[in-house]
């Protein structure tokens, strides 16, 4: 996971997380739309008795953030795996500026 924090020329580290958060946000919006237009939270609630009984609006909001968490997690992992392991960078000088 350390490789996530290795700076590159194209994108500084915070930007990498920014990109993941933003793109996963877009997909979470789509997922929330598809999920809740097919499944009514009021119907879903009794299936998961552990889940607190909340209003539909609350369920949509919580659902959206859960989807965002999921898509962001997969994005962060994908980004982490596109960089070589951190140890390989030991011989490279981080190239931040042009």
């Amino acid at each position: 996971m350390l490789s996530l924090f290795v700076p590159t020329k194209w994108m500084p580290v915070p930007a990498r997380f920014g990109a993941v958060l933003w793109l996963s946000f877009l997909l979470a919006v789509v997922a929330t739309g598809v999920f809740f237009s097919t499944i009514d939270p009021d119907v879903l609630q009794p299936c998961v008795p552990e889940f607190p009984e909340v209003s539909r609006t609350a369920a949509y909001t919580i659902g959206f953030f859960l989807f965002w968490l999921l898509t962001a997690a997969s994005g962060v992992l994908a980004v982490a795996f596109t960089y070589p392991p951190a140890s390989e960078h030991a011989y490279e000088t981080p190239d931040v500026d042009d």
Partner: protein
């Protein structure tokens, strides 16, 4: 009048204070110069129309309710005379496909018109720039202010701008939420400080996103965050309208006095006034050729045409044209690419209209009783269901319920037609009974059919499972 070489205020001369450590690379703040002209007028019109719709639509009434309301708590979307239900999800999917295909078609024809005129990012950034100009003045005044040390005056100006920006963002958040909670009720809740927690959250969230994207991030969103900016070039070809600089005519560039014939001095038509760079909202130099940062706003076309007029030269040194036109070849609007995009768009649009027109004004959801799979009573197997009967018509209606699928199937629990109010949902608990010997399998298919009492052509069938012993 002497047109000089780049003045110190052009963005090519950064000082240490200019360099802002932003989320992405060390970013120089871009101060787009105000521009007037054909494309600027077009963009202003687009901003006014689109934002007018966004802020105004929630206040429009239709049949005693908000004309456009996405009532998520009730799971109903109202768009003028139409009511949409979760069952109409296909329509939303088709609509999104039409949006994507239109984007492809318009990109192939006219380049990034979406980016330059219709994208919320552009539209809201434009408004934030107006507010900035209103408070901080022209481009030069803004840059002077930012370079000057902090003073009471600077603090006052910056605070006024932030106050405007934040209020506008909150208003934007309010407008966004009023597409989901009726605007009049939401307004009342704001005035009486009675906003619900989720409404408060979404107003702040959307307001913050507006402020962050249009006030702070601006062109960085297009450059680093926008997926469309990355793949739009796939829709481009030599017949696509792009903002382009006529290199053969413009080069070699250089300053000169009005009235001098550039040819005697070995110069092209570009006087190197850098106006095109100063007006660019993404801070690029279009004279370097088409770049992925270019959002086709055509501000440089407008400003360069002004300069050409002042110099007494022909317009369109920078123009909104195609590569083929630049090369002196004819531009084809009808070509395989546009035909294919248009054909697919046509098919999807026809499908959309067909689905919209053939919508049944009733709906039926079948929910199995979760407490027990089945029970045996008087030698028969019983399954319990709750039928959710939806009346999607705009008047009260009665429906007859029937069930079929198993020999000798009995329906109990409904006596006579079920009456449902306009746009209403009625829960109907029902029992199905069948003899064990008649069951083809431990889990058999049955169909519930709903039929309008006043019009037997209005009917709807929904499948369900009937469970029995293994």
């Amino acid at each position: 009048m002497l047109m000089t070489d780049p003045t110190p205020e052009t963005p090519v001369a950064p000082s240490a204070t200019d360099v802002e450590h932003s989320l992405y690379e060390k970013r120089q703040k871009i101060y787009p110069r105000e521009v007037h002209g054909t494309f600027a007028a077009l963009r202003t019109t687009a901003v006014l129309v689109l934002l007018g719709l966004f802020y105004g639509l929630p206040w429009l009434s239709w049949d005693g309710r908000q004309a456009v309301l996405f009532d998520l708590p009730a799971r109903k979307f109202y768009i003028f005379g139409l009511t949409f239900w979760p069952q109409d999800f296909l329509l939303l999917t088709l609509l999104m496909m039409m949006g994507a295909l239109s984007l492809f078609l318009f990109t192939a024809l006219a380049g990034r018109v979406w980016c330059g005129y219709a994208c919320p990012q552009t539209v809201w950034t434009e408004v934030f720039l107006w507010m900035e100009r209103l408070v901080e003045g022209t481009r030069q005044q803004q840059m002077k202010l930012d370079q000057s040390p902090w003073s009471a005056r600077k603090l006052r100006i910056k605070a006024t701008k932030q106050l405007l920006w934040v209020s506008f963002s909150l208003w934007t958040g309010f407008a966004f939420v009023s597409f989901f909670t009726p605007a009049t009720r939401l307004g009342h809740e704001v005035l009486t400080l009675g906003l619900g927690p989720w409404e408060t959250f979404w107003i702040l969230f959307y307001g913050f996103a507006t402020y962050g994207n249009a006030g702070f991030m601006r062109e960085q969103v297009c450059k680093y965050m926008c997926p469309y900016a990355r793949f739009q070039s796939a829709m481009f070809d030599a017949d696509t309208l792009i903002v382009s600089y006529d290199r053969t005519r413009g080069e070699p560039r250089g300053s000169r006095k009005v009235g001098h014939d550039p040819k005697t001095r070995g110069l092209g038509d570009c006087i190197n006034c850098t106006m095109c760079v100063q007006v660019c909202p993404t801070g690029i130099d279009i004279r370097k050729g088409l770049q992925y940062e270019c959002i086709s706003c055509s501000a440089c076309v407008d400003v360069c045409n002004d300069v050409m007029k002042k110099m007494g030269y022909a317009p369109d040194l920078i123009s909104y044209t195609t590569q083929n036109a630049l090369d002196g070849k004819p531009t084809r609007i009808v070509r395989p690419r546009t035909l294919i995009y248009a054909a697919i768009l046509g098919v999807v649009a026809s499908l959309f209209l067909y689905v919209l027109a053939s919508r049944e004004p009733l709906g039926l959801d079948v929910i199995r009783d979760r407490n027990q799979l089945f029970r045996e009573r008087a030698g028969l197997i019983e399954n319990v269901y709750t039928l959710k009967v939806l009346n999607l018509a705009d008047h009260e209606r009665s429906f007859r319920v029937s069930a079929a699928g198993i020999a000798g199937l009995q329906l109990a629990g409904v006596n006579g037609p079920v009456t449902v109010a306009a746009g209403g949902v009625q829960d109907v608990p029902v029992i199905l009974r069948a003899s064990e010997s008649a069951l083809p399998a431990p889990s058999s298919n049955v169909q519930f059919t709903l039929e309008a009492a006043d019009d037997t052509s209005v009917r709807f069938t929904r499948k369900a499972k009937f469970l029995g012993p293994r």
